[in-house]
């Protein structure tokens, strides 16, 4: 068995691929093609790059409706559904909303005509809660189309996608650490893993705060998009799902809800988004004196995924 590893910076972090197969030349060419695909998604979604479609929307959609391509139209429709399914906690305009102190709709999308417009000046879209997961999905599709059946992909370690099994024929193992352990106010740090996920043909996304990549607000903690205030009871989440975009959207929305609301949401609600989740794990800041690690499985639909 041959292993080829490749990495490329994109979306403000490093994307890494590990491909298994038997022809190194083939694996190398496929790895480049998959990384090109990730770069293409960055060029589509990054608000930082003036050449991207999202930058064009952000420049023009206040002045007039902007025609978007079919791919972005599908993404916007999907995000709009996710926004509804998460009571607005998935919010592509979250950063602008906090600045504008606006609670109403900030953008409207006419899916049939593929036209998006902003409802007031100062709005901008930010696909930080979506882009890395979607990029991994697209890269995985590229890998599959060239016959790759075993691969591990990650974007800055917070988004991971596993195809098939590792070189030993086992599901790909992914370790989890408590993100709060690294905070300066944490009473104790736990450098060790709290648990592992075992992934085959699954993706995961971890959210603790707005991530630095596609996001406008790299430096501060995530805000509650419904109030524009910092989240009162922050937790962090790792969500496992069949595709990266779903995992990304759900982990971000749960994070924005705050601990109590997210728990109630996971336990009590039924919708397509939650139905697509395979596992949801919550991490809390340490509270007791002994600093015992807080990892709470909120949902595990497939045995063996969480060990």
């Amino acid at each position: 068995m041959t292993v080829v590893e490749r990495a490329r910076p994109a979306m403000g972090s490093l994307f890494r691929l590990r491909l298994l197969g038997d022809d190194a030349d083939h694996l190398e060419a496929v790895a480049e093609a998959a990384l090109d695909e990730i770069e293409r998604i960055e060029r589509l979604l990054s608000w930082r790059d003036a050449r991207s479609e999202v930058a064009r929307i952000n420049r023009e959609a206040t002045a007039r409706p902007v025609l978007v391509d079919f791919e972005l139209a599908a993404i916007l429709a999907q995000c709009q559904e996710a926004e509804a399914a998460t009571d607005g906690y998935l919010d592509l305009a979250a950063a602008a909303r906090a600045e504008l102190r606006e609670t109403g709709r900030l953008w409207e999308f006419d899916a049939e005509r593929r036209l998006i417009r902003f409802t007031c000046p100062g709005v901008r879209l930010d696909f930080g809660a979506y882009g890395k997961g979607y990029a991994l999905d697209c890269a995985a599709a590229e890998l599959r189309s060239f016959g790759i059946t075993q691969a591990l992909l990650d974007g800055g370690t917070s988004s991971v996608l596993a195809l098939g099994t590792d070189e030993f024929g086992n599901p790909w193992p992914v370790g989890m650490r408590n993100p709060f352990a690294a905070r300066p106010d944490a009473k104790t740090t736990w450098p060790h893993e709290l648990g592992q996920l075992r992934l085959t043909d699954l993706a995961l996304s971890s959210s603790a705060a707005l991530d630095a990549g596609l996001s406008h607000s790299a430096d501060h903690d995530m805000l509650n998009p419904r109030t524009g205030e910092p989240i009162a009871d922050p937790s962090a989440y790792t969500v496992v799902a069949a595709d990266g975009a779903t995992a990304e959207v759900l982990s971000t929305a749960l994070c924005a809800m705050g601990s109590a609301a997210a728990e109630a949401y996971t336990k009590e609600r039924t919708n397509d988004l939650l139905a697509a989740a395979v596992a949801i794990v919550r991490f809390d800041p340490p509270q007791d004196a002994d600093g015992s690690p807080h990892l709470t499985p909120l949902l595990v639909r497939r045995p063996g995924v969480l060990v």
């Binding site: 022809d23 030349d25 083939h26 190398e28 060419a29 496929v30 480049e32 093609a33 790059d49 003036a50 050449r51 991207s52 479609e53 930058a55 064009r56 420049r59 023009e60 002045a63 007039r64 409706p65 902007v66 025609l67 978007v68 391509d69 079919f70 791919e71 409207e108 006419d110 005509r113 593929r114 036209l115 417009r117 189309s145 060239f146 016959g147």
Partner: protein, 457 residues
């Protein structure tokens, strides 16, 4: 099809205000804002457009075309089913897919055709599209041989068609600014250009079947056409064409001669095109337009006179492309007597030359205009020069591209020209022919190990 037929063939669409559909009142309010592109103006007729060749670049172009309000993407064609299927998703359900582009031209009769097939097919497809009465956007490099490029330029002329070569830097505000700066003399006299496109990868596309498979060789040549001479001119046509077009544009002429060297020296994997090339072009240019040299001025260096300074002078341009070291990336460095431009697609930098009278002595007069401030202040400490190797450059002025994507912009411009039936596109067939002659002559100079004159085209 003549122009008015072409425009008749375009389906009439409701005007823009109806297209909006969202909120009529809000649309009225927004209408006062100046729009960047003319395509979004009221009452515009969409151009019925087709794309032939829907691989990597074709898909980029399709995605851009579907965001342009004045474009009606009616059909796409590719003879490789996986690419056609993938592109169909980007093109949308209104675009009819064809495996045979002749059939597309016959049945759909598009007003404009966008061509993104491999280089060796550019001439044939473009010529067929012109025959079918279409306006044509053809990806770079315009043609696989200079003869084909000559023929195509003539066919474009006699068809009076709108024709544009896909050299998108022509639509890029950074390069437009650079051209204005060079042509207005901000750089002084441009005496040299250094351009390169250096990358570190094998430039191969993956093949979807394993090596032993019966179709492998066929598919490998189909997908990796850029590595074989029957289909491609290698680095010079795929990369060099962009940058030498920039040089031709900025200097306002094509080179007179080229010497060049190249080979397959690292990626010895069966490819036929060079994996590294180094070229030295000589341009002969008239001196800068502007005031004539002052006859009373001090003699020019080396006994030159104002007479000799009016003779054409030689600008030397080096170009290289590598596939095994990416340190220098892709950029053009335009060197003039007063300043230097460093150009890339998303950032330009302008460095002024430190000139002899820039010594930095203080020479301020005092308020009463009498005595002069000390020119030098000494304090026992030697002012040390920075040991940074780049200190001599000083701080650059930056040229940003804040407006968008040059690929989308070149298409907006092309469709605007089609709509107005204006043949003076931002990169017409004559420019495409000059670019083709510039890059292909370097390839020939490498093969023949000799200096060659660039054909006057």
């Amino acid at each position: 099809m003549n122009t008015s037929d072409r425009h008749h063939a375009a389906s009439l669409k409701p005007n823009r205000r109806e297209l909006l559909g969202l909120s009529a009142a809000a649309a009225g309010a927004w209408a006062s804002t100046a729009l960047k592109s003319a395509v979004a103006a009221d009452g515009v007729e969409p151009v019925r457009t087709a794309v032939i060749g829907t691989g990597g670049r074709g898909s980029d172009l399709i995605r851009s075309l579907t965001t342009i309000e004045g474009c009606d993407l009616v059909a796409i064609a590719d003879d490789y089913p996986p690419h056609l299927e993938k592109a169909a998703k980007f093109a949308g359900p209104q675009a009819k897919p064809y495996s045979d582009y002749h059939k597309l031209l016959n049945e759909v009769k598009p007003a404009a055709v966008i061509i993104a097939v491999p280089l060796y097919l550019h001439y044939q497809v473009a010529s067929d599209a012109l025959q079918a009465g279409c306006d044509v956007f053809c990806e770079k490099t315009m043609c696989h041989t200079v003869d084909e490029a000559r023929k195509l330029a003539e066919e474009v002329d006699s068809a009076k068609a709108v024709f544009q070569v896909g050299l998108q830097r022509r639509a890029n505000p950074i390069y437009q600014q650079a051209a204005a700066m060079v042509q207005s003399g901000v750089l002084g006299q441009v005496t040299a250009v250094k351009a390169q496109w250096h990358r570190n990868n094998n430039w191969r596309r993956p093949v979807p079947v394993p090596k032993g498979h019966a179709d492998w060789t066929k598919l490998e040549r189909k997908l990796n056409w850029r590595l074989y001479r029957d289909y491609s001119g290698g680095l010079m046509t795929e990369l060099g064409s962009h940058q030498l077009d920039v040089v031709n544009w900025l200097l306002g002429d094509i080179p007179k001669r080229v010497i060049a060297s190249g080979g397959v020296d690292y990626w010895r994997d069966g490819r036929e095109v060079f994996d590294n090339v180094f070229c030295l072009y000589e341009y002969e240019l008239p001196p800068l337009a502007g005031p004539r040299p002052d006859p009373n001025a001090a003699a020019l260096p080396n006994g030159g006179t104002s007479e000799t300074s009016l003779k054409p002078y030689t600008v030397r341009v080096t170009y290289s492309s590598l596939c095994n070291n990416a340190y220098e990336g892709a950029a053009e460095l335009v060197m003039g007597t007063k300043g230097t431009l460093y150009l890339t697609s998303n950032k330009g930098l302008f460095y002024r030359e430190k000139l002899a009278d820039d010594v930095g002595w203080s020479a301020k007069k005092t308020a009463d205009g009498g005595s002069v401030d000390a020119s030098v202040v000494t304090s026992g400490k030697t002012l040390k020069l920075s040991n940074s190797p780049w200190a001599h450059r000083g701080e650059p002025l930056e040229i940003d591209n804040l407006l968008g994507d040059d690929t989308r912009d070149e298409l907006v411009s092309f469709l605007d020209h089609v709509r107005r039936d204006d043949v003076q596109t931002i990169c017409d067939a004559r420019e495409g022919l000059r670019d083709t002659a510039t890059v292909l002559t370097a390839n020939r100079a490498i093969d023949e190990q000799t200096s060659l004159a660039i054909p006057r085209v």
